[in-house]
Each structure stands twice: as C-alpha cells, then as structure tokens.
Subunit: 214 residues, 2 copies
DNA sequence: ACCTGAACACCGTTCAAGT
DNA sequence: ACCTGAACACCGTTCAAGT
C-alpha cells in the first residue's frame, strides 16, 4: 500500500543550470538580451517554468552574478609581503569579472548575495589583520578596496582609455581644456592592465602609509 | 511678399526642460519609473513628442546624467595643500550625485557625455600637474580617483554599511567567517561620510607617496 | 516643422488549465 | 508537484496622419 499520495514530480532543473543558461545568454546577447523568454528557450523549457526556481527577473540576475563571482579564487596567496597579497586578491576579482564584461553593470546591485564575495572579503580581512589593521580602519580599508575594484572594472568596460572617450578628449578645445588634450596623448599609451594595476598601486601605497601611521 | 515658405513651427520644449522633467520623474518614481510615457506626461505632451529632442531612451538617460553632473562645482579650491584640494574636488562629485541617488547606476555608462565631468577632470589634472604629476602617472592618478569615486558612490547607495548587508555579515557562521562577523560590529559604527572620506584618505596618501617617489 | 495616436513587437508576470 | 500557454499590463519605437 505504498504511494497513497501522488509522487511529487521531480524538478527538471537546478538553480545552477538556470544560472549557467542565463550567463550563456548574457555572454552571447548582452545584458539587454537577458529576458525570461530567452533563458527559457536556452533551457528548452517554457518561460514560466523559470518561476518555479526564481521569484523574479531580479533574482535571476542575482544568480548570474553569483555564478561569476563564485569563480573568484579566495585562497590566501602565501609567501608575499601583505600589500602584494592584497594585489593578488584584487586582481583575481578583475580576472573573474573580466571574462564576462556584460555582467559588470549587475555587479554593484547584487554583490552582497554572492558567497564568493563573502569568502573573498574574509580573505582580504585576513591579510589586513596580519598587517595590523583593526576596528574602523579595517572596515575602511576593505570598503576602499571594494570601491576601487568596482569602479575600476566598470570604467574599464564602459569607458576604456582605448575607446572613443579618449578620442573626444583629444579633440577638446585647447583653450578650455589644455590639460585634457595633453593627457589624451599619454592616455592612448596606457593599456588596461597598466591602468588597473597603477591605480591599485596608489591605493596599496596609501594603505602602507596608513598602517605605518600609529 | 514675405512668408513664401511656411513658417517653421517653433519648438515647444528645450533639451533642458526635457532633462529636468526626466530628473523629476527619476527622483519621484526611481529609475524603473523613467519611461518615455512618464516623461511625456510630466511635460504635458505626447510620448512621441520627446523623439523630436532625443533619438532614444538612452539619450534621455544621458541628459539626466548631464544635468546632475553639470552641477558639480569645478572651480579649483585655493589656499590648501594639493591633496586637500583633490579631496574637495572629489567630495563635490559625491555631494552632487548624492542628491539624486537613483541616477547613480546611470553614472558609469553616461559619464563621458557630460561637460561637467570634463571640467572636473581638467580641474583635477590642474592640481595633479602642480603636484608634479605628468605623463602616464598623471593619467593613472586621474583614472584612479575616478574609479574610486564611481565605485564608492555606488557602494554607498546600493550596499551601504548601515543596510541589510552588514546585518547578514554579522549573522555569518563564525567558524567560516570569523573576521567578517567581527568586522560587522565595527562597520555599524562607521557612517557614510567617514567611510567615503576614510577611503579617499587612503588613496590621497598613496598619491602623496607616489609623488615623493622619484 | 512639429506634434499626435494607433499600431507593432517586445517585455515581466498572473492565472487557469493540463499531467 | 510541476509545467504550460493564453492573457494582461506594461515597455520602446515606427509610421501615417493631422496642424
């Protein structure tokens, strides 16, 4: 007398499959192409089937961000001075997100839901703690690094030095914008790696000075 | 024998009015409420009238960003050491955008079209030049400051320390995230001004160290 | 020239119906 | 339980028609 009740029909999808399909769509069609209908088609199911796994389109976006950020390697790099270890951790975020530039605009709004970011933050706090940071200063250092990496990644993909913005800069009237016109020349020779790394250098130097203070 | 040709009917709107109406909508209804229909209604015209002034919804967003960023005061602050002058310029961007937090997500994508940003950049370059920066280092310093301000403003409005993210942090399992749990306590006592200013301090200290180098 | 409203091709999401 | 398709209330934008 088994099966008195109807057997629950097994789910045909996992959240991981859903996230993977959504990321495939974003990589192929851009962020504007990420629609419930497109993801349903990508999975070979109806559009409405997605709502069994996700409350919202926003939650779907959250899954995509999670998938990308969970790939950030957060194992603490050893055998290096602490500023170099911070650099490695920050560069890993850039590497993971750089592989999926179309997802970058979603990053700020959904950052908090990703376990990957939590692990990464814990690793950064570990290095900062060893370097002697605690209390308010440690909070500010973590948030400062996070602000820089978020801003720099967006600038890299939405307004790169190699792009049209620099050309516009170079064509600015020299009477009103002498330094912008001059800087545009130099900007053309700065690659994205040098730009990101250079700015990070400044920030890390600031942290070193900060830790030496008192 | 005047008026051989039909008099061109005068435009009933200016781009400035359009931008102001759109900003009113965004401030009242949020970014999701910014639709062509809503802006048309706000102006008392038909939806389609907007297309006489703007090619696109994207161009409308650009006008909003312009309106907000053009209010950034870019007159160089005098009588201060150069790092303090940079601080004043950066804080002014925060002040102007902080008055319209819903616009913040549009900032990165439309940053380049705003004359206000160009004037601000020229002012920042002026201070950096006086401080002895030139060539690649000047480019990197400008972009680093821009990255920080963009990232920090977004973090402030999309994931503030006072918000739910910090509560989640505090509730994290101490076995896996001992430092996050500990840091959440300190984070609750850091206000947005202290956070933004503290991170900016680190960056400015890094620039000072950078300029002393060689 | 400038403005309008209907219409088209999309969205996300609700809901009743199927298995 | 889980999945489906029709339907609803929106979008941005095209186009023909009005003044």
């Amino acid at each position: 007398m088994y099966a008195v009740k109807a057997m629950p029909r097994p789910r045909s999808l996992t959240p991981a499959q859903l996230a993977a399909a959504a990321l495939t769509v974003v990589d192929r069609d851009g962020l504007a192409g990420l629609t419930m209908r497109a993801v349903g088609k990508e999975l070979g199911t109806s559009t409405m089937a997605l709502y069994r796994y996700v409350a919202d389109r926003e939650e779907l976006e959250g899954l995509v961000v999670e998938l990308v950020l969970d790939r950030v390697d957060s194992t603490p790099p050893a055998d290096l001075p602490w500023p170099e270890r911070l650099r490695v951790l920050v560069e890993r975020v850039r590497a993971a997100t750089g592989a999926h530039p179309a997802v970058v605009p979603l990053f700020p709004a959904h950052r908090h839901r990703s376990p990957g970011v939590l692990r990464w933050s814990e690793a950064v706090l570990g290095v900062l703690t060893e370097a002697g940071f605690d209390g308010t200063r440690r909070v500010i250092a973590l948030r400062g690094l996070l602000s820089y990496v978020i801003g720099a990644i967006q600038l890299e993909h939405l307004g790169p030095l190699s792009g049209s913005g620099t050309v516009t800069m170079a064509q600015l009237p020299r009477t009103d914008f002498p330094l912008m016109a001059e800087t545009a020349q130099a900007a053309r020779q700065v690659g994205p790696d040098e730009e990101f790394g250079g700015g990070l250098d400044v920030l890390l130097r600031g942290l070193v000075a900060h830790s030496d203070r008192d």
